[in-house]
């Protein structure tokens, strides 16, 4: 088994404009997704909007600068994630396709296995 981090990207403005009825529907769909793939979901959360993000960058002199906003400004912002367990990429893709994404899509990233013994 391997772990994949599935990053959920979406248009924040579209999410905001959708309204409570759609948000509720989306919530229900996520609960259902969670139930269907319960055994293979190792974790997951929705994130607050990028308006709440704080970025910290290291400067050339080694000092750090704290700024308001996400690390990269993009139309489709990271809005949540699942950590899933799958035997291979095909299985991970099949699970990721079930994630409700009315405002965008997902990116599937294998979690690196770091061998600390060597």
């Amino acid at each position: 088994m391997a772990q994949y981090l599935v990053l959920i990207y979406g248009d924040e403005k579209a999410v905001g404009d959708a309204g409570p009825a759609l948000w509720q529907q989306l919530h229900k769909e996520h609960v259902e997704f969670g139930r269907t793939h319960e055994k293979q979901i190792a974790g997951g959360n929705a994130l607050e909007s990028t308006g709440t993000a704080t970025s910290i960058r290291r400067n050339e002199d080694g000092s750090q600068t704290v700024t308001d906003g996400p690390f990269a400004e993009t139309k489709e912002a990271l809005g949540g994630y699942y950590l899933i367990e799958a035997k291979d990429l095909d299985e991970a893709i099949a699970i990721a396709k079930d994630i409700p994404t009315p405002f965008g899509g997902v990116e599937v990233r294998p979690v690196q296995v770091i061998d600390m013994s060597s």
Binding site: A2, K87, D88, L89, D90, A92, V108, Q112
Partner: protein, 420 residues
């Protein structure tokens, strides 16, 4: 027989085996090593050993079986001696238990499983970029060297090496499985493989730049690949369609360029020189591919090629049937380029005015804006309608859009005729 003759014969036998058996040998070895690089090394060693062993002992009855057995023994040796920590990438994942060493060593040549479908589905996995799929297919399925793959796509060798390394790393690290896709997935996965083979063929058939119109190496490799897939998936209508398409298109190869290097149009080609064996084989395959409803993209394109291939002269071409086939193709595979080809066929079925109208109806297609064939088709209809000034402008536009030397020569010839 002299020694030189004998060694030349052995070298030819090894080269032939390389072309026919490379994918089988590599695929069977990957199953053992679960490591593409190691499997490639072992397969290459087996072919190198064949040169000396076959010279001493004669060419084996089943070269593929001999090579696979040698490559797999090498792999087992390497696996026994290799320390796992040295391994740069994680092992490939599959869906079966690795066979025990004794089992592999005791396996008769006939029992070695054919893993070529796994290998080709891994190379053309949708999680890999198309250019990576193409590079891996040439390198791992056709056994080309990185230098040869680089030459085929007109990029530098370091660029191609980096592309292949990156793709292999993704296969291992993201755990793209070494497995035949499930029955539900198989059609779309085979579709991706067919797209890659078709892309190789068209790249070879009309080299995008340079002086050679046909890159024979790529064309031959893609026909070999289509034949291999046909052998692996004999009931697949799309595979039959693709093999038919490449055979029928290739059947005109000898007549596409004149003795002076000039590009010859279908109209000007000497049909007696078309390859009748390829046509016969292609036509049978078209019939088979068209039986599936609705027929697929490659089957319809092949059916159009078959109409031309079976028409004794240009004047006898059944343009009405070609337009009907293009109508079906537009449904199966809508694209502005197909619509343009349909417009050209309409021009032959219903006259230049109808053709020009059909081409001009596509004027707003952004995909055709930079497409030399669109301008060239418009130019031809204008010329046939006697609107020579407009035709000249369109030929000049087409010239700006193509870099292929043979195509440029044809357009310049047309322009010169208009200036006379």
């Amino acid at each position: 027989m002299t020694t030189t003759q004998a060694s030349a014969e052995v070298a030819a036998a090894v080269a032939e085996a390389h072309r026919r058996e490379w994918a089988f040998v590599l695929a069977a070895t990957v199953r053992l090593t679960r490591d593409l690089d190691l499997a490639e090394e072992c397969a290459q060693d087996a072919f190198a050993q064949a040169l000396t062993s076959w010279a001493a002992d004669g060419v084996p009855v089943r070269p593929g079986g001999w090579l696979t057995t040698v490559a797999r023994r090498r792999a087992l040796d390497a696996l026994r001696h290799e320390s796992v920590a040295r391994r740069a990438l994680p092992l490939l994942v599959g869906d079966d238990v690795e066979p025990a060493v004794d089992e592999v060593l005791g396996q008769h040549e006939d029992e070695i499983p054919d893993d070529r479908l796994r290998l080709v589905c891994t190379c053309c996995h949708p999680a890999l970029a198309r250019e990576a799929q193409v590079a891996l297919t040439l390198r791992l399925i056709c056994g080309l060297t990185t230098a040869e793959v680089a030459r085929a796509f007109l990029v530098s060798e370091p660029t191609m090496a980096a592309r292949i390394t990156r793709a292999k790393k993704k296969i291992a690290s993201a755990r793209i499985p070494y497995r035949v896709p499930s029955a539900a997935e198989l059609p779309s996965r085979v579709g991706a493989v067919l797209d890659v083979v078709h892309l190789l063929f068209t790249t070879g058939h009309t080299a995008p730049a340079g002086t050679d119109l046909v890159r024979r190496d790529l064309v031959e490799r893609s026909i070999d690949l289509a034949r291999m897939l046909r052998g692996l998936l004999p009931d697949d209508a799309d595979v039959a369609g693709l093999l038919a398409l490449v055979l029928l298109t290739d059947s005109r190869r000898a007549t596409r360029v004149g003795s002076d290097g000039r590009l010859l149009l279908l109209e000007e080609q000497d049909r007696r020189q078309w390859d009748s064996a390829e046509i016969a084989e292609g036509v049978v395959l078209v019939g088979e591919a068209l039986r599936r409803r609705p027929p697929g993209r490659f089957a319809l394109q092949a059916a159009i090629a078959a109409v031309h291939a079976q028409s004794p002269t240009w004047a006898d071409t059944d343009w009405r049937r070609i337009v009907t086939l293009y109508d079906a193709l537009l449904e199966a595979w809508p694209s502005p380029v197909v619509a343009l080809n349909r417009a050209v066929a309409v021009g032959f079925a219903d006259g230049a005015a109808a053709g020009l109208a059909a081409v001009e109806a596509l004027a707003d297609e952004p995909q055709l804006a930079g497409y030399a064939y669109a301008a060239a088709a418009r130019a031809d209809f204008l010329r046939r309608l006697g609107r020579l000034d407009d035709a000249r402008l369109s030929y000049e536009e087409a010239l700006l859009l193509t870099e292929n030397a043979a195509e440029r020569e044809l357009l310049q010839r047309r322009l010169a005729e208009l200036r006379r």
